[in-house]
């Protein structure tokens, strides 16, 4: 029989895959049980199938993001670098997250700084990372005894444009994130202070950002803490 400690022998890619598998068992269980409820009560079936659709779409996004990170890092899919306006990227991210957040009763607040310099990035990769991260933040807020909105924010930082998602205060610290990277795929709750479960979206997002030579880091915005990435504004695009 497999022992608990065996997880430590997995390599980083296997650990990410294990984390993703454990994450996906949750929505699949939800779908199975919603179907079980719908079968018993045809009157509410329509509402339950709508919920199944949202759960399936969010899960599909996570799987696709994971696959995209593998394809890009394995050079199966080339990066398509283009000028990206971070505020529009966050706007689209909020749109993609909206149905998921609504089901969990979590509101999204979009507050990107205006007149932000464009950055050069693969838009699809960057947005996939933000949506994956956003799903974790929505879950985290819904699991809080005092839920607060999820903020999508971009602002100028010392080293570039800082784009990320923020929740309630004191959810995260640098040590929590560092420990979470070490525990990813090894523990069932690597980000226990933030959210129950594997929080695979955080690691998938980081894996995607890695292909853009960026990383996730703990960031502060007003009194909130969150996870963000720092992106370099294009000097050339500023001249145009």
């Amino acid at each position: 029989m497999q022992q608990f400690g065996d997880r430590a022998q997995l390599n980083s890619q296997e650990r990410l895959f294990l984390s993703l598998s454990e994450q996906l068992s949750r929505p699949l269980l939800q779908v199975a049980q919603l179907a079980e409820l719908a079968a018993d009560d045809p009157e509410t079936a329509a509402e339950r199938w709508r919920l199944v659709q949202i759960i399936a779409q969010s899960s599909l996004h996570l799987v696709e993001s994971y696959a995209l990170s593998l394809r890009v890092s394995g050079k199966i899919t080339p990066l398509e670098m283009e000028p990206v306006t971070v505020s529009s990227l966050l706007y689209d991210t909020a749109g993609a997250l909206e149905p998921f957040a609504k089901q969990y009763g979590v509101s999204l607040e979009l507050d990107p700084a205006l007149r932000m310099q464009p950055i050069m990035a693969d838009r699809m990769v960057l947005q996939s990372a933000m949506v994956s991260l956003g799903q974790v933040f929505v879950l985290a807020q819904s699991q809080s005894d005092e839920p607060s909105p999820v903020h999508l924010n971009a602002h100028r930082g010392r080293y570039g444009v800082v784009a990320g998602l923020y929740g309630g205060s004191a959810l995260l610290g640098k040590d929590n994130l560092r420990r979470a990277y070490a525990l990813q795929g090894r523990a069932r709750q690597p980000l226990q202070r933030l959210v129950s479960g594997p929080a695979a979206g955080v690691f998938v997002a980081d894996s995607l950002l890695h292909t853009l030579a960026a990383r996730l880091h703990v960031a502060r915005y007003r009194s909130l803490t969150g996870l963000a990435t720092t992106l370099q504004p294009s000097q050339q695009l500023q001249l145009i």
Partner: protein, 126 residues
């Protein structure tokens, strides 16, 4: 019976609440260990259904706190979790000490099974 459901995922919890209510139980739902203690304080549950993976304090920490109150010592607790049985097997002593009456692995437990197990629980004598 009055069921205290400790389940961090709200969508998942909605499903369990509806299934349990249909079977004639009243349900109080908490997303965290701290919230669960508050709810138990408001109305002592006849049975607790507990997910071990919670944000902040985990399910085992909850159990230690829950069992530290005299009036909740005899309340049956069922672990209903994504933690598979072979991992829980390491904590058999712990679960015995903390009065866990059964452990259910979520991916292998239908709503019907969950409701049947809850219905079969023997509430603590008041």
């Amino acid at each position: 019976m009055h069921v205290l459901l400790i389940e961090p995922d709200k969508l998942q919890a909605d499903v369990y609440v509806q299934a349990l209510q249909r079977n004639g139980h009243t349900v109080a739902h908490a997303v965290s260990a701290q919230g669960a203690v508050h709810l138990a304080d408001e109305q002592t549950p006849d049975v607790v259904v507990l997910e071990l993976q919670l944000p902040g304090h985990n399910g085992v920490e909850f159990l230690y706190e829950f069992r530290s109150y005299h009036e909740w010592l005899e309340v049956p607790v069922m672990v209903h979790s994504f933690v598979p049985p072979y991992e829980l097997a390491r904590a058999v002593t712990l679960t015995k000490e903390l009065g866990v009456v059964c452990t259910l692995y979520k991916p292998e437990t239908s709503l019907q099974n969950l409701c049947a197990v809850v219905a079969a629980a023997k509430p603590a004598a008041s």
